[in-house]
């Protein structure tokens, strides 16, 4: 666990710093992949930048709306740099809305765009695992396995390391597909399938899970439902590709 990193006189928050590095690395990989697929890189950068900016603004707005009393008499706190004054769900909704609106206005192909962004998503997943390791969040259940780590007063599964390894394996598995794409959407859907299977598996080793009923973890149930939807979408895309030919799918 290393929640802060000392760089000279600066004491950086390690989890946030790791996420920024992962974003930068992922965006560079996505740019390389976009060039290979003749996707406009300027639009890719604009899409990511606009989504991020809108996401941050949306996260703050949602937080303010949900905690109006906290800002009474502290109007200037609206502009505070505290990351604790952000609502992650609100940020995600705002970022996705901004991405869809930007994509539609610039006539970006939906599946092609998701494919191009997949290297970014894959690197971000590695970054999230590493940031969990830094903060000590997403810690594992108690174990007697020899590779267990001492954390929060017990020997636990190194679930954050599992996360990182799984995300790295996912990136390696999809890397091969990046160079030989049959038709748009398959890279993203394959990434989603592998990632969701990892989530269902690794969530089972986490000690901080939230139960929905009788100890069943909400994270696993959510991932299971999304996995079923991804399987369905994958099958539909493949069936469409097999029926009407690759070129038609790519354009539609």
């Amino acid at each position: 666990m290393f929640p802060t990193i000392q760089v000279g006189p600066l004491n950086l928050q390690a989890p946030g710093f790791i996420i920024i590095i992962a974003l930068w690395v992922g965006l560079n990989l996505a740019e390389k992949f976009a060039k290979r697929r003749s996707y406009p890189t300027d639009k890719l950068y604009n899409l990511v930048f606009i989504s991020l900016l809108t996401g941050i603004l949306g996260a703050r707005l949602f937080f303010i709306l949900g905690n109006l009393n906290s800002f009474t008499g502290n109007i200037n706190n609206i502009f505070s740099l505290n990351p604790g004054l952000l609502d992650p769900f609100g940020g995600l909704v705002a970022a996705m809305l901004a991405a869809v609106i930007y994509g539609q206005r610039n006539k970006l192909h939906f599946w092609e765009t998701l494919d191009v962004l997949t290297p970014l998503f894959a690197v971000m997943m590695i970054g999230i695992g590493l940031s969990h390791l830094a903060s000590g969040n997403a810690f594992g259940t108690v174990t007697s396995m020899p590779w267990g780590v001492n954390l929060w007063g017990a020997k636990r599964h190194p679930s954050q390391v599992y996360e990182m390894i799984a995300s790295f394996v996912t990136l390696t598995l999809i890397w091969h597909d990046l160079s030989k794409v049959k038709f748009p959407g398959l890279v993203f859907l394959k990434f989603s399938m592998i990632t969701l299977i990892w989530i269902i598996l690794i969530e089972g080793f986490r000690g901080d899970g939230q139960a929905v009923l009788a100890g069943i973890r909400s994270g696993q149930i959510g991932a299971f439902v999304i996995l079923a939807i991804v399987f369905f979408t994958h099958e539909k895309r493949l069936s469409k590709g097999e029926t009407i030919g690759k070129g038609d799918v790519k354009n539609g």
């Binding site: 004491n11 929060w152 901080d208 696993q220 149930i221």
Partner: protein
């Protein structure tokens, strides 16, 4: 891969997932349910037993039943100084709700005269305890000042904020959340 094989693959993965979801249900000893103490969200707050600036002993466990904000700080730390006025205002605003702010001074890296001067300068009315040996900071694995722990009425840590200065709105939102959870 033909369609039939794909369908079989999807069904097999979903079935295996369901089996794993059932067998990996949350064990009772996973977090604080077994009463484990650790300086992290979801665990019971470890004990702090220190003397305040008047020589009175203050024990964290004796404050159970009231929401407590434990703030590790030092006089030489600029973000600590910056967030103190907000903490003082919050202490006054939430006096009726019995919210306690416990400021743990890292006295092993500070000096007592500087602490008393600081208390007078900022008009601090909440208890300030002196961590002269650095034991509390060590127990709470404090790696950076300020570090703030939000502890619920039942002694459970609900949030940890590393670094600062914390905005007043952040303090109030966390306190409101604690008050809503355990009325």
């Amino acid at each position: 891969m033909n369609r039939d094989f794909r369908i079989f693959f999807y069904v097999a993965i979903l079935t295996l997932s369901l089996i794993w979801i059932y067998f990996s249900r949350i064990p009772v000893e996973a977090t604080s349910e077994s009463g484990k103490m650790a300086p992290h969200t979801g665990f019971l707050a470890p004990e702090i037993s220190l003397l305040d600036t008047h020589g009175n002993e203050i024990k964290l466990t004796e404050l159970r039943g009231r929401p407590v904000i434990v703030n590790f700080w030092a006089t030489w730390c600029p973000p600590c100084r910056a967030e103190m006025p907000a903490m003082q205002r919050v202490e006054m605003d939430y006096a009726d709700e019995e919210v306690i702010i416990l400021a743990v001074n890292s006295t092993n890296q500070d000096s007592l005269p500087a602490v008393t001067q600081f208390i007078d300068e900022f008009g601090i009315s909440f208890p300030v305890v002196l961590d002269t040996q650095g034991i509390a900071a060590n127990t709470y694995q404090v790696s950076s000042l300020p570090t703030t722990f939000f502890i619920e009425r039942d002694g459970m840590i609900s949030d940890v904020v590393i670094g600062g200065p914390m905005a007043e709105a952040l303090l109030k939102s966390r306190i409101d959340r604690m008050l809503k959870r355990t009325p």
